[in-house]
């Protein structure tokens, strides 16, 4: 079986899975108690009015008719209309989804980097104090409820220290699903912009150093003097650019990911604001997820570090970091990749709790708020969307895996 037929088989297998999920959710939602119409009227409407509403929502039809109608709509890309406010579900979901996506991407990045770095570190110092403490960290991180960590972070960094806003991404008074932004205000004064742009200058400086180090230029005094202009240029140019752009004040949403939108606009102040909002939630979720990656990286690295080709690489006199990251980690990476796909589902589950903790207007909060109203179409839509994302991610991971490891395709 070639790579192409493997991909085709994999895609074809996803379809019955999604169909199954949809059917189960469809039945479960309708079989279990709770009535969207009664909840819509808050149980204060007459029987006739409720009956009219049921007809309007199509709830009076037999179950299988409803099912096939919904399925037909879904095939055309129509998620149906909300039973609570009649707005199209697809639109609501696609306005809530970018928030979840941004959170998921950043926390996955944090989880993987901390997981791999700490896991490698632990495996290199097997059975030492460092190894034990990293293992303990991993185990404890796994056992912490996401929302508890989020609350503690919020308590320390937002309430006590005041470094981050308490209501993130949106203000508490705002409609959470409209994605009206708190970034829309003009940013502080010129001094703030100046200070933040200092960071950009530092980044330019660091980049310059990297280039100079490649060319083996000594740091003092030539390297330092050569890179100084880069720092000053970065700082000054960015200050004026940022000052110019911040006076505009409104963040144009094109992708819905605030970090990317602000970068597209070239506005460092808004970018930093977006990062500030993102910092605590993604750190929370990332730390909790990193436990699994630490454990997995450690155990796989312990195995690969003992393999002959690693010893051979050491014997050839390669640097230890080159041996560990270039030879051992490369081969220990496949199981980590699989775990990334599997953990993505856990991540989305954790995202619901994190979104609730940080009032983050994502898909998870949308689902939770609609469940209380028994908004059938919204629940189905959100769950299908979750399922689609997970299926997609797993598909990508599987294909990547097959690409890396040709044995899979046989």
């Amino acid at each position: 079986m070639g790579l192409r037929s493997y991909i085709i088989a994999r895609v074809l297998l996803t379809i019955p899975m999604m169909l199954l999920l949809l059917s189960i959710v469809f039945v479960v939602v309708r079989v279990l108690p709770g009535d969207p119409v009664a909840l819509h009227f808050e149980r204060r409407a007459s029987e006739e009015a409720m009956e009219t509403m049921r007809q309007r929502l199509g709830l009076d039809k037999p179950l299988y008719v409803q099912y096939f109608e919904y399925l037909g709509g879904l095939l055309k890309g129509d998620f149906g209309k909300s039973m609570q406010d009649y707005s199209p579900i697809g639109q609501q979901i696609s306005s809530a989804f970018p928030a979840t996506l941004e959170l998921a991407i950043f926390s996955m990045l944090i989880a993987i980097t901390t997981g791999i770095l700490l896991g490698v570190r632990a495996s290199r110092s097997y059975n030492s104090l460092q190894d034990h403490s990293i293992r303990a960290f991993g185990t404890i991180a796994y056992a912490i409820p996401v929302f508890f960590l989020g609350m503690i972070f919020q308590l320390i960094f937002a309430v006590e220290l005041g470094w981050f806003p308490t209501g993130l991404r949106t203000r508490p008074t705002m409609e959470p699903y409209g994605l009206t932004l708190y970034l829309n205000e003009p940013a502080g004064g010129f001094v703030t912009v100046l200070l933040w742009s200092f960071l950009v200058g530092l980044i330019c400086w660091a980049l310059c150093f990297v280039v100079l180090k490649r060319r083996r230029v000594k740091f003092w005094p030539r390297g330092f003097l050569l890179s100084l202009p880069a720092f000053l240029a970065g700082w000054i140019v960015w200050t004026f650019a940022a000052w110019h752009f911040t006076s505009v004040g409104v963040l144009h949403i094109s992708t819905g990911l605030f970090t990317i939108d602000s970068l597209l606009e070239g506005n460092i102040v808004k970018f930093v604001e977006a990062l500030k909002g993102l910092c605590l939630p993604s750190l929370t979720l990332g730390i909790v997820l990193s436990g699994v990656f630490i454990r997995l990286t450690r155990s796989n690295m312990l195995e690969t570090l003992r393999v002959d080709y690693v010893t051979a690489a050491r014997a050839r006199g390669l640097k230890e970091t080159a041996v560990v990251y270039g030879y051992a980690l490369r081969n220990a990476f496949l199981p980590i990749l699989t775990m990334m796909g599997l953990q993505f589902a856990t991540l989305l589950g954790g995202a619901i709790l994190t979104e609730t903790t940080f009032s983050w207007p994502g898909l998870g909060r949308y689902l939770v708020s609609r469940i209380n109203f028994r908004d059938y179409t919204a629940i189905q839509g959100a769950i299908i969307y979750f399922g689609l994302i997970v299926a997609l991610v797993n598909l990508v991971v599987d294909i990547f895996y097959a690409y890396l490891d040709p044995r899979i395709r046989l």
């Binding site: 019955p16 899975m17 999604m18 199954l20 999920l21 959710v25 479960v28 939602v29 279990l32 108690p33 709770g34 059975n127 034990h132 185990t139 404890i140 796994y142 056992a143 912490i144 409820p145 996401v146 929302f147 508890f148 609350m151 503690i152 919020q154 308590l155 309430v159 006590e160 308490t166 155990s299 312990l302 195995e303 599997l342 589902a345 856990t346 989305l348 589950g349 954790g350 619901i352 709790l353 609730t356 903790t357 998870g364 689902l367 939770v368 469940i371 209380n372 028994r374 629940i379 959100a382 769950i383 979750f386 399922g387 997970v390 299926a391 797993n394």
Partner: protein, 315 residues
């Protein structure tokens, strides 16, 4: 002597039965403790199991004796009690009080019952549903196996909490409902473990020998395969306890908890979340630490057991 033997009334037989029973129980218990103590000699995995079991058993004991130990009634509301509201930890209230003035120490002491019940019940349900399906489907093979695998895989790949939220919300409050909602999420992991084990054991010589000797399918399944699957199920179940506890806490946090009149760590966290802007750290910290400890205990046991039963990394 003879007199004693002849006088076997109902009461004496009952009493002697009782003493032999307690003796046996004591023997089993002592044996268990001895085994537990010998874990120290089994390296880091043994230590993990030991520490985990100590944590879990002390929390279980604490929950069992809490009604007699707790300094005040954990569920009494303001007209009955007259405590300061949201008081930070002090000598009178070592863990502070919550929004209603209830003593957090008593609530923390009594709060484990709900979590433990939900965890035990959900693991029980998983066991009851996941293991037989896994055994039967993978032993029979063919179409049934394929269909079951497909169903279980699609559940396995799906964000479990989403599903648990949907089901728990529809079924309403209650320990059993919550346990069922959690069980649905974790059944696939049992199924997968059982299936992979059965597929290996099915091909082993002793199973083939039993088949050749003419044993029935049921006999092979129950007497040859099941006992060999049990160790890996036990490992899954222990890790599952931790997951069930965390999921239960998450469900409670979202507002699908067991109830208001029951002391519950998850519920305390939820209520403490509302007090967060006022900086009342004591309302969330102590119940949160208890949840972490309980989940940590089960994770440690699970990890330790899986290493003890499957010593791959030992040199």
């Amino acid at each position: 002597m003879r007199k004693l033997e002849t006088k076997r009334t109902f009461l004496t037989s009952f009493l002697s039965g009782l003493t032999s029973f307690t003796k046996r129980v004591r023997g089993v218990f002592a044996n268990f403790l001895r085994n537990l103590a010998s874990l120290r000699k089994r390296g880091s995995a043994g230590w993990m199991t030991l520490i985990g079991s100590v944590i879990v058993s002390s929390i279980v004991i604490m929950t069992l004796i809490s009604p007699w130990v707790a300094p005040s009634d954990p569920t009494a509301a303001p007209p009955v009690i007259d405590n300061p509201l949201r008081a930070p930890p002090s000598w009178d209230f070592p863990m502070g009080t919550n929004k209603l003035g209830q003593d957090m120490l008593s609530r923390v002491l009594c709060g484990g019952a709900v979590m433990l019940q939900v965890a035990v019940l959900s693991v029980f349900f998983c066991f009851l549903i996941g293991v037989p399906i896994g055994l039967f489907a993978s032993y029979t093979g063919g179409m049934l196996d394929k269909v079951c695998s497909l169903v279980m895989d699609s559940f396995y790949a799906f964000p479990g909490l989403v599903l648990a939220i949907a089901i728990a919300a529809m079924m309403g409050r209650g320990v059993v409902n919550m346990a069922l909602a959690i069980a649905v999420v974790y059944i696939p992991s049992y199924f997968r473990v059982v299936r992979s084990q059965v597929l290996t054991i099915k091909e082993l010589p002793y199973t083939e020998a039993a088949q050749a000797a003419g044993a029935k399918g049921r006999t092979i399944l129950l007497r040859y395969i099941l006992p060999n699957v049990v160790p890996s199920i036990v490992v899954v179940a222990t890790v599952n306890f931790a997951d069930a506890i965390l999921t239960a806490a998450g469900l409670t946090f979202i507002g699908l908890g067991v109830g208001i009149d029951v002391p519950d760590w998850g519920w305390d966290l939820t209520k403490g979340f509302e007090l967060l802007p006022s900086g009342a750290w004591w309302v969330i910290t102590f119940p949160g630490i208890m949840i972490i400890l309980l989940a940590l205990g089960f994770t440690l046991i699970g990890e330790g057991l899986s290493e003890l039963l499957n010593p791959r990394l030992e040199q």
